[in-house]
Amino acid sequence: MKLKKNIPLIDQHDKFGFWGGKFGGSFIPETLKKPVEDLTKEFHKLRKNRNFIKKRDFYFKNYIGSPTSFIKLENLSSHLGGAQIWAKVVSEANGGAHKIYNATVHALICKAMGKKYIVGDTGAGYAGKMLSMAAKKFGLKCKIFMGAKDIKRQKPNCDAMRRNGAEIVPVYSGSQTLVDAVSECMRYWVSNCDNTHMCVGSTVGPNIFVKICGWSTAQISRELKIQLKKEFKKIPKKIKLINCVGGGSSAYGFWSEFIDYDKKNIELIGVEAGGPKKSKLHAAPLSRNAKIGILHGAASYVCQNSEGQIQDTESISAGLDYPGVSPIHCFLKDTKRARYTYATDEAALNAYKMVTKFEKLNPSLEPSHAFAEAIKIAPKLSKDTILIVNSCGDAKKDRDILKDRLGKY
């Protein structure tokens, strides 16, 4: 299994859609074959179409607000000593998280395909909120599938979705979290694929959805590459790019431009959700060595039991609370290009406390997992090491959890 150079990772799959011969694919019911095929053809056409690219770039700039800033966290760095800690503040994007890139692109594709309805899944509520925003912006009717447990714990994002005119469909089956929301959304699409477009909220699901999402979030690293050259005159010699990984859409977007670099030069570190310290449950299939399985139309490392039943997960962060992970991250793990680890709920909360104490930054619980790793390794590293954390979401949505766990927000 080997990575190719000069080809975007999203395109390094075989004719059946597998990365490294075993991750990804399209394990879908017959009914979805045609709509998936149509979408694949359309996307293939659009990404080569100059007008479409122009449109995308226009909305990325004027609607999403690209580029998001790249800042040094001076106080945090000097407090910890060791490496310099920087942040790519993706949470500045319209709506407050990276999910807006994928949502905007899906809305544009939906329009191009002449469909009037768009549906999507959401965990933390950001994917749903952004899809509802994009739907409103482009005049589409929108339905969001969300686990009942997540609706309760991410209320601010639900309020936003409703304000944008989207219908939230609560999902009561299974664990009532993201995994069930994705299943229910796919079921809805099976029944309505003739007039409805589906947006999968991360780099997961059947092959084409991994590709569209990765293609959209890649904007993050395109910006970062320019910003790095501007800040340091050239790409520094020792960089570590740290990103939280749930499905893995922000991590892929943060890394895509840097995958061809040597890992001694630019190390890629993915941080999964380790769950509560004392719990056996987690949402860390990569770093806790889950077996390969098929979930939501793709093969990836999946938290599951020996029979193949998908396991319950547990994490303080609804956005990372998912038993599977993107096939492209499985590929990056097996080729050893990226290193994956996890942070517990407690570590993420502590990281949140520390970052907000020293910096004018308010990272949500998802990137707080990435900050936990940065805080852990920074003191041991040299001053010329540049740690960059993708602060991919804003903590407004976590208001209730943070109040409950830290006594304040």
């Binding site: 394990f27 074959k33 089956s173 299974g174 079921r187 099976v190 390969i292 029979e307």
Partner: protein
């Protein structure tokens, strides 16, 4: 596989001038013992019995079958129990075909070859794997054929003509036509006339294949689809199990009555 039990069942139904009746129940719903009893009892009125091996993330199933699947898993059903249910059933009625139906991850975790071997040993006649479509299923399907197990291809209203031809070419004795764009157990939103028209399109391409129609078929609608080679009823049966449990009634008797009625409607 000309003399397969599945083929024979269709021939028998054809002789009686009626479509074959296929039932779907979930193994282990609501217990291992009960699901075997139900299977034994309904086999008097059904021509082919489909038995689901339940998965907890079923992306193509509607509410009724999901409920049955979750109930069975909660009550501890394991893949090996499913095989033992089939073995026991086959000792009771070796002439009745059994088709196992489920999602690919369960087979993948069990190991494809081991799974097929186990199917053969417990005398499973056919397999339906919901999320392993054509052409991805080619290798697995040919492994099944080598072991005299029917791999059943699915066709849906969205299947293109080109795909249709390829799928039929690679199919075995039976083809499953999904009546409409829906998960299992949805309300029939397409007229039976249109469904039969689509069905005939498939039949025209190869008359020797037995084509069954499933999804959304109930006591009310089954008669209108009588022209088909076979008709599958699943959700309506699972619903009856749920209802009987709620009312604390005998699931075996109630479900058998439903199947008996279905059988009467297509005579």
């Amino acid at each position: 596989m000309n003399n397969s039990l599945i083929n024979q069942s269709f021939k028998k139904a054809k002789k009686e001038n009626r479509p074959a009746l296929l039932t779907y129940t979930v193994a282990g719903d609501n217990t291992k013992k009960k699901s075997l009893e139900i299977l034994k009892s309904i086999s008097k009125y059904a021509d082919i019995c489909e038995l689901g091996f339940p998965h907890n993330t079923p992306i193509a199933d509607g509410g009724q079958i999901q409920t049955s699947a979750y109930r069975a898993i909660k009550n501890g059903i394991k893949i090996n129990d499913v095989f033992s249910i089939v073995s026991k059933f086959k000792k009771f009625r070796k002439d009745k075909p059994i088709i196992l139906m489920g999602y690919y991850n369960m087979i993948y975790q069990y190991n494809e070859n081991k799974f097929i071997k186990k199917c053969k040993k417990s005398k499973v006649d056919g397999l339906i794997v919901v999320d392993l479509p054509h052409p991805e299923n080619k290798i697995f399907a040919s492994k099944c054929k080598k072991n005299k197990i029917n791999f059943i291809q699915l066709i849906s209203p969205t299947t293109s003509n080109l795909r249709l031809k390829k799928i039929i070419k690679d199919s075995h004795d039976m083809i499953y036509y999904i009546s409409m764009l829906s998960t299992t157990g949805g309300k029939l939103k397409v007229s039976p006339k249109r469904i039969i028209k689509e069905y005939q399109k498939i039949k025209k391409l190869n008359k020797s294949k037995n084509v069954v129609i499933g999804f959304g078929i109930t006591e009310k609608t089954i008669k209108l689809l009588k022209k088909a080679d076979g008709l599958v009823v699943g959700s309506a049966i699972c619903k009856e199990i749920t209802k009987s449990i709620k009312k604390r009634q005998n699931t075996v008797t109630n479900v058998t009555n439903v199947v008996k009625k279905l059988n009467n409607k297509i005579k």
